[in-house]
Amino acid sequence: MKPTQRRLMRESRVARRALGAAALLALIQAVLTVVWAVALAAAIAPVAMNGAGLTQVRTAIIVAACAALGRAAVAWGFESTGRVGAQQVMSELRLRLAAHVLEARPLTQGTDSTGELATVAVQGVDGLELVFARYFPQMMLAIVVPIAAIGWIIPTDWVSAAILAVTIPVIIIFMILIGLGADRRAKARWAAMQMLGGRFFEVVRGLTTLRVHGRAEAQVAVLEQVGEDYRRETMSTLRLAFLSALVLELAAALGTAMVAVALGIRLVDGGIGLQASLAVLILAPEVYQPIRQLGAQFHASADGMIAAEEIFAVLDAPAVLDLPSASPAPSPSPARDAIVLDDVRVAYPGRSVPALDGISLALAPGEFVALVGPSGAGKTTVASLLVRLIDPTSGAVRVGGIDLRQIDADAWRSRIAWVPQRPRIFAATVAENVRVANPVADEAQVREALRQAGADTLVAEMPDGLATRLGEGGRRLSAGEAQRISLARAFLRDADLFVLDEPTAHLDGVLAAELAQVIRRLTAGATTLAVTHRQELVHAADRVIRMEDGRVAGALVAEAVA
């Protein structure tokens, strides 16, 4: 088993149960396989030797038929319990993933692959089903069936048992060799294949660019040539690689042949009866079959675990939020208390340069502060700290002298209205999307908030008005439209602290100027931090803080910046 599979077994009771079911079914299957061989032999031998009629072998045929039906039923059991098991495991992982992301790392900094992760978390079940419905059963069968079959053959005909017992290790050794060699070679070939596929993908994506420079036609020949080279190279490695498979096949086929020949010789001597011989001969391929199949399922199983691996990777990534303290302090109000960043450092994992490098600044109650500076200066990180989407690596954010980490995070956030650079529009209606800020707001309040955010005409143009579905599977909004919905959220909440991160970046000049006025008016009385490049918002501020390289580069009055 691969490490991820072992981990699944350790952490998931559902997974253990599915594996247990596979083991039990494999045991039944092994018994049925022996019964089938013995009954079929019992149906053939008397007829072949003595010309017995159907009535004499009826019982044997019925037993064989029952064994066949039983084997089909077990196959059904493997497939359905395996698939259901995989679904349950995936469901567990999904829910763990969702809860973990919301609990410990709301800010998945620097990863653009969340959409892919979501697909993996949903569609990944298909691969996992193959692991649970095919690979695990095969693994169990490969252990149980040979043991049961050889166990039955030993007292019947120890020579055949010995032949099988000798050839099986050969097969296993070569399977491991194939596994190891193939793994290495397959990785190399996989890389080459990916490169080739990638190249094809790039040519198609960059076709306009290539055409503009008159280089497109040349790429056709290149694609064909590179593919041809790859084929030639691959085939020369495959000719060698498949040799181990050849030995494996040879061992299985020769094993069966040797069993047949040895049985023939002993039959001539009268050392064994036809019925027993036939049973052994029917069992011989059944002994090899599950072991040979295991190799084929092995690679599918590796692919099938990818989803689980990716989810575990997220679950294992370090949290960016400290766990909530057991007895949180009551939340102070930013409307009355100053917010102080005291020598705060924030280092994102995997980045060499800290996002914030010992920054200290204070927001007085009711103050409107504009935060400016070049991109990468750490402005968004300051905003994220205030909303507690991350916690400082060192230093502290204090409100009224209390460390934010001591305060119940949800209570603190309930006082904040936050407009991020790229707000998320959820798969829900317009009204529901605005109401995230205030679930009890009535329709009039929602409409008013949208109007203030300059989104009323936008909503009026939508087919179902406030009931129009947005987000995944609904109407897609442009960045500017999403920003206005996000502003409407902020206006709908009666907040003590407004944290606005480039709230008007994607809007055209006229609208941005209007909204700057609205923002200034609606945030009156509350403390406001606005990260912005826009002059109009800077003008509206009481105070401007300029950041550079994770530190305060200077505090200015608005006029000086302009």
Binding site: W36, L40, A48, G53, L54, I61, A72, A75, G77, E79, G82, R83, V84, Q87, R94, A98, V101, G115, L117, A118, V122, Q123, F200, F201, V204, L207, T208, T209, R211, H213, R215, G227, E228, Y230, T234, R239, L243, A245, E249, A253, T256, A257, A260, V261, L263, G264, S277, L281, L389, R413, W418, R424, A427, V436, A437, P439, G473, D508, Q535, E536
Partner: protein, 580 residues
Amino acid sequence: MTATRALIAAVRQARIGVWLPIAALATTIGTVVLGAALLGTSGYLISRAAQQPPILALGVAMVLVRAFSVGRAIMRYLERLTTHELALGALARLRSSFVARLIPLVPAGLPRLRAADLMSRFTSDVDQLQELFLRGLLPPIAAVVVICMAGVAAGVMLPAAGVVLAVVLIAFAVLVPVATGAVARAAGRRQARARADLAARVVDVLEGAPDIVAWGVRDAHLGAVERANDTVMRLGRRDAYASGVAAGLSGLGAQVAALAVLIVAVPAVRDGRMSGVLLAALVLMALAVFEVLVPLPVAAQNLAACGQAALRLEECVDRPIPITDPDVPEVPGPGRSLSLRGAQVRFAPEQEPVLSGIDLDLCWGRAVAIVGPSGSGKTTLCEVLARLRAIEAGAALLDGIPLDRLRQFDVRRAVTLVPQDAYLFPTSIAGNLRIARPDASDDELLDVLSRAGLGEWVDGLPDGLETHVGQDGGLLSGGQRQRVTLARGLLAPGGLLVLDEPTSHLDAASEAAFLDDAHGASVTDRTGLCIVTHRLAGMERFDEIVVIVDGHVRERGTHAELVVSGGWYADTVRATAVAA
């Protein structure tokens, strides 16, 4: 076009020849046949041995058994080699042939609204077709041949057994893929919507986590995920049981065949119509031959998937080619000037023109800006200038020669377009630049980079020109990315540079700097510049500004003239100024 015809077209494009497919088929069949022969002969061997003849009488059977076992292993080896050879060769040729058909259609030959969708599926569809031979067409053909051979082989021993074996084989060959396919399709249909809903909820949580946490709506979203998850689980469980039935059925076939043949043969042996020593051979052969049906369910699914992929591909590439080279092209001039006179463009005959009555003059030593709101036809105009799109009426002249009397290659040698979505290939900076001129020296590359304002930056990079730019320039900043595409445009041999929305991803400060550099680098006595943009920053430096609204030239003149004229330009400049 039907899926079948699309598949036939795809097979033709794969150019697999005759011998390789025959070899692949023969080895596939040979492997199964030798396996059946091995078991059948073994059955005969021990049945005959049970009669205790002199051991020499078994000699032939013993040799055959060993020969078949070795032969089967070797045949399997050959099967693997030939089928891989076939698949790999086919993939390479499928890719190149489909790309060759796509080239003349990009970008003007594809339907504008669906172009992105068609292109995004293009590569995965072509790659899907690699399954066509190995895991699509080969298994059913092999199955048909093996079923015939098995029927005949059994029929020689006992005619009734031959019929019974063939019937059981055919029944399972049809039944199992149909059942498997039906179950999978039904599951797909039922689950697709539930899964899409679940995916949407999960994406909301993963991508919207900051919003969810900040607004304190965690429980609502986790609840939504759980509910969607429950639905998927409920449907999934039902489908798991159904797919189990298909799995059970496929395992049952061999045993049914063996028992059916046995039941037919037992009376025959009793009556003396068949020799008793053949009975075991017959039954064991029936068991072994079922191997050939195993890949059929997957093959059926692959054929369906390949059919859909081939259909989509044909839909994508089976289109009229918008621009072809003239039979007898004119000799191109120096590429000094490019003019449009009353140019008109229509996407489709029944639609309104997207551009009409456009007059435009580009020439060396001159900088022209084409401005206007989004959607007014500016990108289409760029495509006309680079001869990617034909005009329907009016004239387009390069050095006075109509574009349609020149080779496309010659036009693009003179006019270099840097498209809005100019692509950076995942290779080095040098590799990306040399697309414009493969024989350019490193010094020339450094020269265009410094003219594009990247000189210091490249000098500071540890790997210099060999620095990798990442997937579509992902390792560069927006400004660097834009400047590399500018440098590539400058490197191209053409003297007339057309930049489509080069600053759309830049902030105001970077935009001004970029325009400075672009203007300085590309307006000389042997080069000219045309910039297309919807933002009106830095317009003072242009010799002429052409305002295009709804496909018509609304205003033209210098910045100084236009700001006082009271049109769209003046309004927009004023609005931006108020905002600032």
